[in-house]
């Protein structure tokens, strides 16, 4: 058993396993592909809205277990939130990685990644889906239904 094993908590592995179920959403309002230029991992995020609310987040993950798990979490937590709620998730993910601030509310599930806070070289793995999400949302007009 090594300290790094904590990153591979059973809950993270379970989340990552669900990333296989991700796929394109039916009527995407935006789509963005983000690369981790250091390792080549790639996440594609698609967002479908229903009025002001997020109906579904889908996409594709080509990356490590942490990236898969983070992408799966985004897809699970996002439906029902508005754009501000998604942006809040992005901020909470960044804060958790940066200084270990626990996530709250709709994004409480992020806390599964708490052990990654101590592994700075893996922060980008967790944040990649969130970066893709942020870039995706940048493409949409908040007033656009």
């Amino acid at each position: 058993m090594s300290g790094a094993d904590g990153i591979y908590d059973a809950r993270i592995k379970e989340l990552a396993a669900t990333a296989r179920d991700l796929g394109p959403v039916e009527h995407a309002h935006c789509r963005h592909e983000a690369d981790n230029f250091l390792c080549g991992d790639r996440v594609t995020v698609e967002v479908e809205r229903d009025g002001a609310r997020i109906k579904a987040v889908g996409g594709k993950v080509r990356g490590c277990l942490l990236t898969q798990a983070a992408a799966a979490l985004v897809a699970q937590a996002a439906p029902g939130l508005d754009v501000a709620g998604l942006m809040n998730g992005i901020k909470q993910a960044e804060a958790l990685m940066a200084d270990g601030t626990p996530a709250t509310g709709a994004w409480e599930g992020l806390n599964v990644f708490t052990p990654v806070h101590d592994a700075k070289h893996r922060h980008d793995c967790v944040l990649l889906p969130f970066q893709a999400l942020a870039a995706c949302l940048d493409q949409t007009d908040p007033q656009d239904d």
Partner: protein
């Protein structure tokens, strides 16, 4: 091999752990450190133009390193050795200096197994000069398909840029065969020798190539230094890549004329200490018993292959047990990403590399996103393979 291992402080101390990331960077040797320290503490001065004793000694040390590299590469003339900041810089130097003589429509053939360092500079040349890039494919084992070369070469082909050994699969290119075909049509050949140079002296004369590049940090030397070897008659025709001091014959505000090679291509104060260290590395490597070392590497590699073959979920990418290979091994594991494998292996003291290895087109060729790579060097021992195997068993258990 213990005495050899003892010449590498980070290994002798145990600080480097089980070090199997030699394709990215080899460990530095005591004789290299000693010569660099000696230069810095007792011989430090700028090179080439100083005429006080310390400066002339520094220049002698610098040029002595050039001669050592010429010997290591089998060059006939040390003036064919140009010091650069690494293999990447050496290829870029050729892309600019040799590329300046190319015109739109001229063709360059690059290998499918190339490191990005031997792809991107040519794409940049394509974009600024209109040259046409063609790709020499590899076969399923990762070897360049020489049977495809004749079809790719035309009257407009000017250069073939090919790796001597893949940093992903370890497959060794039959460079001499490529050079034979190229020479018959007046085509120049650049060989990326970054991986090959850690596994024994090279003979550019026998290979028949026109350019050969190596880098210090992959041949037990310091970082920040590398070499472009090129035939004297080719260097003579090349324009400089960078301008500045040390590379000129005469400067006026109206014009500048350039020094002869190799100085024409060494603008500014060179990385003198690193060059001296690289010379020490070449001297050290020239003094080793390479048939014995290669046999040792081959035995270890065979054990590594056997251990991996026993694992159901593992797929090895590349030439397998083919003898024409370096002890660089890439593999994938079903449902386990290389970064996760490397994270857990690293935590168990085993240094591996996971990812695309700066060879994304080759990843595409093999239909994989990334691989895990173990690469051996002359100082590895069976205990390293045992540690690798134990750590991999544990790692796959954690990821299950």
């Amino acid at each position: 091999m213990l005495s050899l291992r003892d010449q590498f402080p980070s290994l002798a101390s145990g600080l480097a752990g089980t070090y199997l990331d030699n394709a990215a960077m080899t460990q530095i040797a005591t004789p290299v450190l000693a010569r660099m320290t000696s230069f810095e503490t007792g011989g430090r001065a700028n090179v080439k133009r100083g005429i006080y004793p310390l400066a002339t000694q520094a220049t002698a040390a610098f040029e002595g390193a050039r001669a050592a590299l010429a010997r290591y590469l089998g060059a006939e003339n040390s003036n064919e050795v140009v010091f650069t900041s690494g293999a990447t810089a050496a290829i870029n130097l050729v892309a600019h200096g040799f590329g300046a003589g190319l015109t739109a429509g001229d063709e360059i053939i690059i290998g499918e197994a190339e490191h990005h360092a031997n792809i991107v500079p040519w794409q940049m040349l394509r974009d600024r000069a209109g040259v046409v890039l063609k790709v020499l494919p590899v076969d399923d084992a990762g070897y360049p398909r020489l049977d495809a070369l004749d079809d790719l070469m035309t009257a407009r082909t000017r250069l073939i840029a090919i790796t001597h050994a893949s940093n992903v699969t370890g497959a060794v290119t039959d460079v001499a065969a490529i050079c034979d075909r190229a020479r018959a049509q007046g085509v120049r050949v650049l060989v990326d020798g970054a991986q090959m140079a850690a596994h024994g002296p090279v003979d550019v004369t026998t290979l028949g190539c026109d350019f050969y590049v190596v880098t210090g940090h992959k041949m037990f030397g310091p970082t920040g230094v590398g070499v472009l070897w090129a035939r004297a008659e080719v260097l003579e025709t090349m324009t400089p890549f960078m301008g500045g001091g040390e590379m000129i014959r005469r400067v006026t505000f109206g014009e500048t004329t350039f020094a002869p090679p190799p100085h024409r291509f060494e603008a500014g104060t060179p990385p003198v200490t690193q060059v001296v260290g690289l010379g020490a590395a070449a001297d050290m490597l020239l003094g080793l018993d390479w048939p014995e070392i290669r046999a040792h590497e081959q035995i270890l590699f065979g054990i590594l292959m056997e251990r991996l073959a026993a694992l159901d979920r593992v797929t090895v990418i590349g030439p397998g047990g083919n003898a024409k290979r370096l002890p660089i091994l890439s593999f994938t594991v079903t449902d386990a990403h290389p970064h996760d494998i490397c994270e857990l292996m690293g935590a168990r003291g085993v240094a591996l590399r996971g990812g695309h290895h700066c060879a994304q087109p080759l990843m595409d060729r093999f239909g994989v996103e990334a691989t895990t790579r173990a690469s051996l060097a002359l100082y590895n021992v069976q205990g390293d393979i045992d540690a690798f195997t134990d750590a991999l068993d544990e790692t796959l258990e954690v990821l299950a």
